[in-house]
């Protein structure tokens, strides 16, 4: 399926929407965790499936083993979000999230799912609110634990050709914690996003 790229106006509007949404997400996360949360300026691009691994690898430190949580969202916007966690710093979050500090393997999984869900939810709900699009979520699941990126994203297993990729990096004040949030919307999702953007632009 071929896909028409977003027009300049649509791209600008989306960048603006995402910037505002992420600002709010950072604020809500900071209030929840009670620490300063730093977010990078979101980068948005259209990627072909063959480039997804290369693109993501460029964002994360390739040598590090990756732990990833994925979550689907549906309703007026439809896609999947992936949070890639670095190998270190996750336990710093345990305390902030009200978890015990002596986590076993399952406790750590639950923490990662919780953190993944919060990052994804804060960002996507923010985008939804800007676009006045209702969004619902499926439960998050662990996609990989301490695996190499090639095993997390296998192009042959991906049933889309083009996807819109929104990339944001998170870091926490006084912590090694860092994570990368990827929001992926494949062809069908892009079309409904385009409609939402058009509605927004018509309204202002």
């Amino acid at each position: 399926m071929s896909i028409a790229p977003l027009t300049t106006d649509q791209s600008d509007a989306l960048q603006e929407v995402v910037n505002i949404a992420m600002g709010q997400a950072g604020d809500r996360l900071a209030r929840t965790l009670d620490v300063f949360v730093e977010l990078s300026v979101p980068r948005i691009r259209l990627v072909h499936v063959s480039e997804i691994v290369k693109t993501v690898r460029a964002m994360v430190n390739d040598r590090e083993a990756i732990t990833a949580v994925r979550q689907s969202f549906y309703d007026h916007l439809r896609g999947e979000a992936i949070v890639l966690f670095g190998a270190s710093g996750c336990l710093d979050l345990a305390v902030l999230m009200g978890y015990a500090t002596d986590l076993d393997a399952l406790g750590e999984q639950e923490l990662l799912l919780d953190v993944g869900n919060i990052l994804i939810g804060a960002c996507i709900s923010g985008i939804g609110a800007q676009l006045q699009a209702d969004i619902s979520f499926y439960p998050p699941s662990i996609m990989a634990e301490y695996a190499s990126l090639d095993r997390v994203l296998v192009p042959e297993n991906l049933a889309w050709e083009y996807s819109l990729l929104v990339e944001v990096n998170f870091t926490l004040e006084n912590s090694n914690f860092k994570s990368h949030l990827l929001i992926l919307m494949a062809e069908e999702g892009i079309e409904s996003l385009r409609e939402s953007l058009e509605r927004l632009m018509a309204a202002v």
Partner: protein, 316 residues
Amino acid sequence: MDRPTPSPELLGFIVDRVSVGVFVVDRDMNVVLWNRFMETNSGRSAAEVVGHNLFESFPELPVTWLQRKITNVFVIKNFSFTSWEQRPYLFHFRHNRPVTGGIDAMYQNCTFLPMKDADDEVAYVCITLFDVTDTSITQRMLRSALKSLAEASNRDGLTGIHNRRYLEELVNKEFSRAQRYGSMMSLIMLDIDHFKRVNDVHGHLAGDEVLRNTAKRLRECLRDVDTFARYGGEEFAVVLPETPLEGALIVAERLCHAMGSNPITFGDLALPVTISLGVSQWVPGIPCYEELIRRADTALYQSKANGRNRVTIYRE
């Protein structure tokens, strides 16, 4: 978007009768709705629970964690979830498989839904609780089957010790560790002397018993950290991690003695069985794990050539 609204009676009926736990709390963690599923399973009626603090009614709940979880939904205004795979249940409810379950409580998946008011603030959090006991039991059976399958594929059927596939995997792993950290590692290859003769003279059942008994005796001489495997036919191998050549030599002598000192009994027969052994160790410069095996094998054939029932160390 407008959509037709069903009557409150109909909605009330569904919420009450659906086979899913549904309850709602406000910002102060007071319960405002408690459906029939929750009543039946908790043994606490809505009249007892509604209007009261959730944690006062159920002090056994994990307060710190759950309060935080619900608070996050109010602040972040977003869905939240728990899965049985990490946290089997929120409430300790009886499950519907008292006979065939083999578990102690209903397994639950929970969803925390933010319910927003007109000002877009979260006024309530609605928690839905799904009984996933059946799913969890199926999953556990599947996992345990996969585990035994993986275990079986590493074992030799006749002797019950590890097989060659597993051994090679392990030698490779230990070899890489030695390459990386310079840690010590030794390998013993051993072979039952004149095994073909046992088969030819006493039959294959006797031969099988000799293999089984040899494996059992040798296993008893080894440490838990050592890996002992049937390499093929009547040939066995021992991987000794963190062990220098001198240590491996002592182990090899012990193995040799364990076999030679007592015959193996098979029915009325007492079969004297001896083994020949070869020992090699990892040294810097060995290119691959196969070379380590080849060296131990070379030493083993020297033991054979020198009259069997003995240990030889590989020398270049």
